[in-house]
């Protein structure tokens, strides 16, 4: 029994609204997670005054961003200056649309309740949105009429387009093993026996680490965060932005982190499937049965965010030429070798 197009449209609208709200809340609390975790790594508390354990800190930060004075310097090229943060945040929030975070086929008619768009090219959509996200940074730096912004944005854009290659190539191995670009199909193929059949334990170990490093560079996070290094570039491409526009760039960075975590769990860690596989019986209650996979998914994404912040607190940052060297001369050949090895493995099995 399939729903009509109109009902499908309404269900999609509902899903988009819920996922956007959850994503924005996730972004806000990822900021809190980072501040508290980096604080603990550095042997201090982090935000702990506002609310219990500092849990109301993101709300207060948001209010502060809204109320700050919005300064627009005189020499900026206005249309692009205002467009750039919109582009950055829009692209960051868009790639969550193809991510399945729960059991498929749970929903009325032909509607997947836990996935907004079930596309045959889901993985490529995420790569495409990443490619378009470069514009947010490039246009922000150029329109700011500021040498430091321009240099920061050029460096950052060059870093992004260099590591896009390694990112895409590292995912080809997973696609070769699965035979589809559909994210739901990739997860379903890993669901056979729990943790043993997850892609990270089956041949894609090296690809996972290549993906992780390329993703850290794509999201401009430590140790690849030279474009934002305050000591070098006075803030890089978001030097001239204040209050809400700066907050949009900030949110875009954390939304990208969450997306990277989601993609890594889907492709390498079995998505919403539990690591125990068939060992325990699924719960009888229909609501708990539907919500348990979401719990596993959120847990795995949280582990990736934890890893992100842990790496940020621990490693020093790369110099720019070391960064480009690493991307072009180490990661990309490694990713190509991984494709070669995976295709030989798939061909002879």
């Amino acid at each position: 029994m399939h729903v009509t197009i109109f009902e499908f449209f309404l269900w999609s609208l509902l899903k988009v609204a819920v996922v956007t709200v959850v994503m924005l809340l996730g972004v806000a609390y990822t900021v809190l997670l980072e501040r508290k975790l980096v604080g603990r790594i550095q042997n201090r508390w982090g935000p702990s005054r506002v609310g219990p354990f500092g849990l109301l800190q993101p709300l207060v930060d948001g209010a502060k961003s809204f109320l700050k004075e919005d300064i627009i310097p005189t020499g900026v090229y206005r249309p692009l200056y205002l467009l750039a943060p919109i582009l950055a945040l829009g692209c960051a929030l868009m790639s969550i649309a193809v991510v399945p975070f729960g059991e498929p086929n749970v929903g009325p008619g032909g509607v997947h309740l836990f996935e907004i768009a079930d596309l045959n090219i889901g993985l490529l959509i995420i790569l495409g949105v990443t490619s378009v996200g470069v514009y947010g940074i490039a246009l922000a730096g150029w329109s700011s009429n500021n040498k430091y912004s321009l240099l920061g944005s050029l460096r950052s854009s060059a870093q992004l387009i260099s590591y896009e290659l390694a990112l895409g190539l590292s995912l080809v191995g997973v696609v070769l093993q699965t035979g589809s670009l559909n994210l739901r199909v990739i997860v379903e193929k890993q669901a056979e026996k729990g943790i043993v059949t997850w892609n990270i334990c089956g041949m894609q170990f090296v690809a996972f680490f290549i993906y992780l490093m390329a993703a850290y560079a794509e999201t401009n996070r430590s140790p690849f965060d030279l474009p934002e290094a305050e000591s070098e570039l006075t803030g890089g491409y978001h030097t001239e932005y204040s209050s809400m526009k700066f907050a949009m760039f900030f949110m875009a960075e954390y939304a990208n982190m969450i997306t990277v975590g989601c993609v890594a769990t889907l492709l390498f860690f079995g998505g919403w499937t539990s690591p125990l596989g068939d060992l325990i019986d699924p719960p009888q209650n229909i609501f708990v049965h539907a919500l348990f996979p979401i719990f596993w998914f959120v847990l795995k994404v949280f582990c990736f965010l934890f890893l992100y912040v842990w790496v940020r607190g621990t490693l020093p940052r790369f110099r720019y030429d070391q960064l480009m060297n690493f991307g072009w001369r180490i990661l990309m050949p490694l990713a190509i070798l991984n494709i070669l090895a995976t295709s030989l493995w798939v061909a002879y099995h």
Binding site: L80, N120, I121, L124, G128, S131, V134, W142, L154, I161
Partner: protein, 182 residues
């Protein structure tokens, strides 16, 4: 649904293309072209070409236009000027372009046997399966040689671009003072 989506995104395409002509600063033209390319990607999706739609976004809008944008930013290209050449080109070229469009449109409208397109139409050719499966089956079996030749083409393009855009390409290297060690 198909009609509404087609009208909206074809409108974006035409608006972007006309804006490309009307703007005087190249960066605005570049952004209009990006709008055209992403709208074309949606139109490819409506015609059942999923892989081409996303390839259009990744390759054209996400790489080629980034190149254009970088070149506009780095060369600091300013606004265009109106010269005698531009005015005469407009007076002669505008009727010529309209004439070309009229000829092509007449041929298209007189053609018979053109069908219609629906949202549920996919692509059913070789053995069925998704659009990517069909495309890649043909590309990697019957058309493997052209595929490999295009990879050599891209390699040549990379080498050519690096050689042309390098500092010192075409400039005499005698600009450095020759130090005589005596």
């Amino acid at each position: 649904m198909h009609l509404i989506l087609f009208v909206v995104f074809a409108g974006f395409c035409l608006a972007g293309a006309i804006n490309l002509l009307l703007q005087s600063h190249p960066i605005n033209s570049a952004l209009s072209l990006i709008v055209v390319m992403t709208s074309l990607a949606v139109l490819y999706l409506l015609l059942g070409a999923e892989f081409l739609a996303i390839a259009q976004v990744i390759v054209y809008a996400g790489a080629i236009m980034v190149l254009f944008t970088f070149v506009v930013m780095l060369l600091n290209a300013g606004r265009e000027e109106r010269t005698l050449g531009s005015r005469s080109a407009r007076n002669v070229g505008f009727p010529a372009a309209v004439a070309i469009l009229a000829i092509i449109a007449t041929i298209i409208l007189k053609a018979q046997g053109l069908g219609t397109a629906q949202l549920s139409d996919g692509l059913t050719d070789v053995k069925g399966g998704t659009n990517i499966e069909v495309l890649s089956t043909v590309l990697f079996t019957r058309l493997l040689l052209p595929f490999e030749v295009t990879s050599v083409l891209i390699l040549i393009a990379i080498l050519g671009a690096v050689a042309l855009a390098r500092h010192g390409a075409g400039e005499p290297s005698a600009s450095e003072p020759k130090v005589d060690n005596q």
